[in-house]
Symmetry: D2
Subunit: 305 residues, 4 copies
């Protein structure tokens, strides 16, 4: 149950079987930092390349393909005042015929991130919105474990291994579950967002560096198909694909499997439950793979088996 | 500002230019009833044919193509105790390879809908869920106005005119806006659900007959592209299409237009706002057209112009 | 086996249960005319409204829901010299980020259609293509039978009843099969194209009025799910939906059913055959529903049963 | 202009920046072999792992990011008699509700591949198809160059770098163009098919080992976005994505760029040409990314610039 303080000196733009930066054990906690999507650290210095440079990988002792890695996000905090976003909607989130109305430039907006006030406030440019000040809701847009068969997957997309899911539900206090595909699992994380709407439809949340603390737990012999997450209130199963319809299929199927494995629900029970209780949350709709989260409140479930 | 009590004797399975059952004026309120998706009324008698038989159409005096019809759902209440749902997930909401696991029969489940307790409780069949008792959240799965060029669109699908959207956000207290395409607008409604999860993924909410009260308001010369809705907290713009990606495009574009028209937001302001604040809700993912709702909280908006 | 010469005086913009313009018997042949997509006849006069005005409906004696209507296109000929097309690619067929490059105007191009030379030649505007002269390949972009439950479906889209499929394979000599959903079947046709690329990606083929001759045959008690077509060389099964993936699913499934019903192929045989021999043709990718055709050469099939 | 005879001893299951097996120059020809999708060589021995093990990578001297690599397939020949296919349609190519009808087992069928007769003949199992004997049409289902930013992309999918496209148009005599993303380009190829229908809808063509000869040519400073191909008759531009709609968008956009760059066509000319002449071919519809090819006959084009 060690606590590791880790200062990264290398960052990766793919999630793959890169040399571990730290070996840790199940139960260990890591305190570290992540840079923003453009590679800027807490001082605003560029120390890594785009896109979405990742801290890690962290190797977990004893992890083997077919296991599940649980990662609890103990603490996720922006580590500087200045965040940024893009200023145009992505062409793929509006009607094709509406695209010519979108701004064609690549200007950035700047936000003041105030941990005391717990707000992100639009500073520049001036807009019709006046002083738009949003409550912070920090989360990592991109994290995951090394995928199978030697793949190295760009941090601009997502798949069964996790990746760039941009789901605002992966917030402090949530435990995520990832399918181990290589020895050591190799966990990466980065792309902190101080706040973000559903879909990351400008291609950005309020992009910022993070101080992060997380705790890993290895679940031997438990095999999952897609990332899952859990907090006190909810179970969340993730699907990453295009179109959204397919992401939704993956997420729903993964939830059905979860409910059977851990709660003993047959498909009749699952159908009756989900059809009246399910919530679908929309993660990233900007990248090559989109993200849908199938969420169900635990209060409707029987005791876990 | 008349109040009309209307007892339906005819029901339609398409939304089209059928003869009006009642002529009303802008500002008028209608109290009426709807039957369930299988045509059963408050007594459980089959009085109409499948699918989703509609009460109406109500003709609004002076409504012309290019206007907008606002309909406030003043009161939406189940009118009997017994609701029903299907008992299998739809094949299109799970992975193709998982489909053979789904139940192939067409059995129904029965729910007790208790307005005093404000709950829907699963009565039959017995499942691993025990006594699943959900808070009521009544809404109309299907409503709309007659579409243009003489179309009659099945109540099993949706489009710009509304239709079978199955969005649980269309609840009591919400005002919906519909694009008038024919003289008199011709408003229909039906397919009441006592409660429903996102997506209507078994093809059913808790299906039940309704007592309903609604108030219409005609907005002359205001033209919208897709259904919209509003309550004290939120604006909601709807897109109906497949895949979900396209429904999301329609909904986002319609919201951008709304924010420009009524709140004076240019696309820079809209991009900054939506990318950090938008919520995407998933309506129907069962029918030929899927529904996505683009929702934004009013507290982030400037004063309407 | 009568031959009917029919001169239309009314045109429809929906395919639905409109009053028949002519009653015919199985085996009868009809010689008639169709106007172009903008309602212009052989003289260039506007005699009907947009979109895709249809000649018909023709009621076939004895046709009942659950039957199949076979229509052989005996002769499909442009009936004037002047055809037209749009001049821009549709926004939905290019990358979203490429859309701003497309022409935003709605200009038309003009083509000279020469039956003797059997060519369509671009006349105006002048382009880098020089004198582009294409071999004629006439077909009806839109045809179908009245859909079930009283629907009236716009001629700008397609579904199980047929509609605006814009598939260049529906040419002279081909027999199409349509699922009868109402008494009399009610067959419509229109939207003649002198030539067209796959997808109708500008929203137009070379649009022109037609002289047409077709022969109907009623197949009692034969039920199909989607339009089918056949000529000496091939079987073709149609799917109409978005995305193309779903249209392809419908078309493949319909072909599998056809091969079982008429050729006695079990799914093992069908899988082996289609996976090595199938051709997928792309029809309309412009309208709300896209079209995919699953095509297989008859030479690979056993004798029909 | 050297001719290299290369005997592979290592195979890769990802396309990425692996150590080159051979360095060659622009203009050089390589004669080599590939194993089948299950790693079996010309003797039927398993010498490599699934999926789709690739021969290579071949490093091309002087190739740098931003260049284009042209590869002419001089000779593509099955190198043994015994080919195999799967025996069930993939669940994703039929209607979701039809999936339970599909065979759930994973049996293989065996085909006799006869280069003299130029046929592939179904040997086992016995089916209703009798002695199904198809003309050979050999091509590589999977080939490509190393992708950017250190990615290693599984040979079971495709993207801008090429990959598992399963397009039967990539046959002997065709020159393919690939976007160079890393120094040396790093060309891989494998997954030979003796014959295959559109879509590879059982997940297999007639899978077999190949003797292959190809000639590379480096086009310095020419940058392309997606794979392209060309033979005497046609230009082909490729899009790889899901859904097919998006693959079609990529392919159409890439063709529009090609026609502008090499043939001087403005978008007006391109729109008029493609909308009346384009052919869309369907490649892989089995893998995570689908393939659409936008094809146009050269006879309609002006002289290349």
């Amino acid at each position: 149950m060690a606590i590791h303080r880790f200062v990264p000196s290398v960052y990766y733009n793919t999630i793959g079987s890169h040399p571990p930066v730290l070996h840790i054990a199940s139960g260990d906690t890591v305190q570290t930092t992540t840079v923003d999507a453009h590679g800027r650290d807490a001082n605003g210095e560029v120390v890594a390349q785009r896109p979405n440079p990742q801290t890690g990988p962290f190797a977990i002792e004893g992890a083997e393909p077919g296991d599940t890695l649980a990662v609890r996000f103990d603490r996720l905090r922006p580590s500087r005042r200045r965040g940024w976003t893009r200023t145009s909607l992505a062409p793929n989130v509006v009607d094709p015929a509406f695209v010519p109305n979108l701004a064609q430039d690549d200007a950035l907006a700047w936000w003041d991130v105030d941990l005391d006030a717990w707000t992100a406030t639009l500073v520049e440019p001036e807009t019709r919105l006046g002083r738009l000040s949003l409550p912070l809701a920090p989360f990592h847009g991109c994290f995951g474990v090394a995928p199978p068969i030697g793949q190295a997957i760009a941090t601009s997309t997502s798949s069964t291994h996790g990746g760039n899911m941009d789901y605002r539900g992966f917030r402090e206090g949530v435990t995520v579950y990832l399918p181990v595909a290589v020895p050591g699992a190799l966990f990466f994380l980065g792309d902190g967002h101080a706040v973000q709407g559903d879909g990351e439809i400008s291609g950005t949340g309020v992009e910022i560096s993070f101080d992060v603390e997380f705790t890993v737990r290895l679940i031997k012999g438990k095999t999952i198909g897609w990332p899952r997450a859990e907090d006190d209130a909810c179970l969340m199963a993730v699907g990453n694909a295009r179109p959204l319809d397919q992401a939704l299929q993956h997420a729903t199927t993964e939830m059905a499997r979860w409910l059977e494995e851990d709660y003993g629900l047959d498909l009749l029970s699952t159908a009756l439950l989900l059809s009246q209780c399910v919530r679908y949350d929309v993660g990233n709709v900007y990248d090559p793979a989109y993200t849908v989260v199938c969420r169900v409140e635990k209060r409707w479930l029987p005791i876990a088996i």
